[in-house]
């Protein structure tokens, strides 16, 4: 019994530590082939919380579920690790932001479809941490993928009052015009788009 409960706890713990996003009770139930009651999951979560009390992280509940967070007292050390890590966002991150801004609400799958390649979860994570995007719902299709949209902070940071103030591609015109416009400009713009 003791042994069994330790195993369940380990599985929940490892899922929370590796998920990269909060997990709901429903998510945690999916971990097991056999049906585990919500109340059991809740009890195990409480036990995990206690197990970690004197350790390096806290198990906390947030809007969309549970996650492990570094204890606040370690933030100073952790920040020391990467003081100026984010010098510039990668092209991938910028494209993901653009897709979410212009096509929201979108799922990760939508983003992959538009970009034609699979997406490193890190790109979304960076934007969530920056608080420019957030999960605003879930799509009712198999897997219940999260729907992403931009936040108020996104509008604030770019001094927009609404999304309709985003640059409008149609003021530039159709594709052919876009391309010929680029060709007419100095060659560096073309490189910008191709790199």
């Amino acid at each position: 019994m003791e042994q069994q409960s330790k195993k369940l706890k380990d599985i929940i713990e490892v899922a929370l530590l590796t998920a990269g996003k909060p997990l709901s009770i429903e998510d945690l139930q999916k971990l097991f082939m056999e049906k585990i009651e919500r109340s059991t999951i809740r009890m195990l979560l409480d036990e995990i919380k206690i197990d970690w009390q004197d350790k390096s992280m806290d198990l906390v509940q947030v809007a969309t579920g549970y996650r492990f967070e570094a204890k606040v007292k370690f933030s100073e050390n952790l920040t020391r690790l990467n003081p100026d890590r984010l010098v510039k966002y990668s092209r991938v991150v910028m494209e993901v932001l653009a897709i979410i801004a212009y096509r929201q609400p979108v799922t990760r799958g939508d983003i992959e479809k538009i970009r034609g390649v699979s997406l490193n979860p890190n790109a979304i994570r960076q934007l969530v941490e920056r608080e420019w995007i957030e999960i605003i719902g879930y799509k009712e299709v198999p897997g219940r993928p999260a729907l992403y949209g931009t936040t108020k902070f996104f509008l604030d940071d770019f001094s927009l009052t609404s999304l309709s103030q985003l640059p409008d591609i149609n003021t530039i015109g159709l594709e052919s015009e876009l391309i010929s416009a680029n060709q007419e400009k100095d060659p560096s713009t073309i490189n910008d788009l191709n790199e």
């Binding site: 890590r85 984010l86 010098v87 966002y89 929201q104 609400p105 009712e140 609404s162 999304l163 159709l174």
Partner: protein
């Protein structure tokens, strides 16, 4: 026939003789399976390797006549079922025929000892590709991070400001143009101002529903204060959300209040 004579002296002449007789039968594949099957070849070398393995051929002593005719027959079938056939397949046909015909010619008498077997180049390619195919399978079997191996990535709230990267709005626009340009789906992703405001309303409504679980339809409209255009956009956003299965719309009875719900519930 001189090809046979040339190589019959080698160790597996008999097997070779037999396999010629048997080859054509091997070509039969149930017609419905054919398309999937042919489509799974990665290119002419892959197809050739398949034929070589299937027919138990010694890769160092390839019977060119038999292999060439089988290869061409497969390519013909691929053309028949209108598989999108890379030009490389046809190039290979030509190359096989050329090798075959070179082998039919009597070897020049005055040549050096290390005269090259016309098949040598092809064999080298086949062996290298087979090696790389094996390597791909081996690599694929290694547990990969993200697929078979999960690594820790717990949350850490940065409390101290850490100079996040500066981004200006033109950069987002550039990124968006880049996406559209590459996707070459300009028409389908054409963004009009009105559509963007629909998208914005979709996000706003979704957020409200996420917070409250359930929202009354009419509460989303404020006809006294909102201009007509905004009401229309809001309505379009609801329809779009429903169509894309992001929310559910419920009404208990005719004329009773309409509710919007989270799709997940």
């Amino acid at each position: 026939m001189s090809e046979q004579i040339n190589f019959e002296s080698k160790k597996n002449a008999q097997v070779y003789g037999e396999s010629i007789a048997q080859l054509p039968q091997d070509l039969y594949i149930p017609p419905d399976a054919l398309e999937v099957y042919l489509d799974s070849f990665q290119g002419p070398l892959d197809l050739l390797l398949y034929l070589i393995r299937k027919n138990n051929i010694d890769i160092l002593d390839i019977p060119m006549t038999a292999l060439t005719s089988q290869y061409i027959e497969y390519v013909e079938r691929m053309k028949q079922i209108k598989l999108e056939l890379a030009g490389d397949y046809l190039l290979m046909s030509a190359m096989l025929i050329e090798i075959k015909s070179r082998m039919l010619l009597p070897s020049p008498i005055n040549e050096d000892d290390d005269e090259l077997d016309p098949r040598a180049e092809l064999v080298k390619k086949l062996i290298e590709y087979e090696l790389m195919k094996t390597a791909a399978v081996e690599l694929n079997d290694i547990p990969q991070v993200g697929r078979d191996r999960m690594v820790a990535q717990a949350y850490f709230e940065k409390i101290i400001e850490v100079n996040p990267p500066e981004v200006n709005i033109d950069e987002i626009f550039e990124a968006w143009k880049n996406v559209l340009k590459r996707a070459q789906q300009f028409e389908s992703h054409k963004i009009e101002r009105s559509e963007l405001s629909v998208r914005e309303h979709m996000s706003m409504i979704l957020k409200k529903i996420s917070e409250q679980d359930l929202i009354e339809f009419s509460s989303l409209f404020d006809p006294k204060n909102d201009p007509m255009a905004k009401l229309v956009v809001c309505f379009l956003a609801i329809l779009e959300l429903c169509k894309e299965r992001m929310i559910k719309i419920n009404q208990q009875a005719p004329c009773s209040p309409i509710y919007l719900k989270r799709a997940e519930v």
